[in-house]
Amino acid sequence: MGVFNMLSFLNYFISGLSLGSIYAIIALGYTMVYGIAKMLNFAHGDFIMIGCYMIFTIVSTMGLPPVAGIIVAVIVCTILGVTTEKVAYKPLRGASSPLAVLITAIGVSYLLENAALLIFGADTKSFTSVISWSGITLAGGQLKIQGVTIVTIAVSLLILVFLQLFVHKTKEGQAMLAVSQDRGAATLMGINVNKTISITFAIGSALAAIAGALLCSAYPSLTPYTGAMPGIKAFVAAVLGGIGSIPGAMIGGLVLGIIEILSRTYISSQLSDAIVFSILIIVLLVKPTGILGKNIQEKV
């Protein structure tokens, strides 16, 4: 490897930050749904993939501007998320086994992947970036930051600020916090739990669509399985940051993205996934509540 090159390290660090921002956006959706509906939406990653295919269809096939693609993707994913919750998850709320809803979510993930496989085919689609800005050059041309990288990081920060404001300043956000703390008590306080969970799914799925647009702009190959791995890694990020915590998801996502890119560069490209997953195991062994998670005591 030779002498440690500070500039190339910085380059990798920034691309890690960019990937981490994408994980963070996905993890935000995961963590909200997990915090409020108390379920692991295994299909969350596949919402990303559906969003990507929507943008691909609008932009590459129909030739409309990327903005239209993103809007359609967000709308479709939101509807998909809310419908999935209503049809598949809601009937299982309060089921005697916690596995029931998890297995159903796996079924939904499977369904979306295979539906996409039938509709769009198994071949890899080459995705046109939704961001045309080429980026900036620093340090006399030695450090190039791509436009998509900057936009990704900026968008994730914007989303973080928006979500924090939404949760803490609006009535719906307060309802979410109440439902996440105690669903029964929230119901007694006159909060419409079903509506709150629907809103959560709507926000989570819309975020998945945005994450999809950014993910496929940075890594432009699209298959029905595009969303699966980032989805799982984003869950790892959510756990790392402390599940249920919005800033935690952001921190977890960034840390995970940086670790993934740096280990891919400096350790082994084949082992980078193994390293990322080992982090999950270490976190759960050492501090199961994650970086910003709260301790929850089990009551009989």
Partner: protein, 349 residues
Amino acid sequence: MRKTQKKTLITYAIVIIAYIILEIFMKAGLMSSHLKGLLVPMVYYAIAAVALNLCVGILGELSLGHAGFMCVGAFSSAIVSQLLSGAIPDALRFILALIIGVVISALFGMLIGIPVLRLNGDYLAIVTLAFGEIIKNILNSIYLGVDSAGVHLSLKSQMALGLADDGKVLINGAMGITGTPQDSNFTIAIVVLLISLFIVQNMIDSRDGRAIMSIRDNRIASESVGINITKYKMTGFVVSAAIAGAAGVLFSHNIATMQATSQYFGYNVSIMILVYVVLGGIGNIRGSVIAACILYLLPELLRGLNKYRMLIYSIVLIVMMIINWSPALRDKRDKLRKKLMKGAGHGAA
């Protein structure tokens, strides 16, 4: 005869009768070579489904890493078979490979169980998934060889092993393992399936099994009556991992070139096995075997269905979960049952 014993015997009988019928078909030349090739995979998926059902249905924890245990069993037994190739009789070699494959899978089950079984529900599912992917990734990137000087291990390339002329490459990185003796056949696979069924059924009917099921039904209550949660959870998990490893042994001895790809050992395979378990009935061991066999063979036999197979399976999976587990539907069903019972009682009176 007790009811459970009778049920268990029926399961064995079904497997043996199905085996005899298929054997007759094969001997009579009524089976295409394509179909013959599907029989061993069908059985090892059935074994894997039995293993996963022990974990999901009896232990009550969802593992998405069973493909990882299959992978461990497959690779460890393949290495044993390659090392002993020609040194000892074939039958003995396979039995040894099977035992070592199962033991190493069980060890991995224990190793993974230590951190994982402290968690439950969603966390456990995702961590087992992570473990499966880690195992797959590591096996994809190691090079292992052996020569007169001993064992060589490298993470770089086959050349970096620096093998002597008499050396033999065992794991060639992402190229996997080539040339494992093709020791497994339909008969052996059925025998392994019967042994797995025997172990699982006896375990369920034993004191340990009842303790495991009590943890599944109410962890806090069973802890308060003095059941050692960790011990029993671990027992169930390790046995489940060991049986999945046995399925892996059959896999590696049935395929010429084995690679740790997602097609064979990814978490998608774990999910596929989960589909067999759910459609066969969670906790119903016989159901798992039947579902695995039918769901594996059906799309292969009906070629036109193959394209839609996964779509149909996923829809059936979701619908079955909702019908079987939805509290509202359960209430309705219970009410209906009571009504019918009442009606029947009335009629009899």
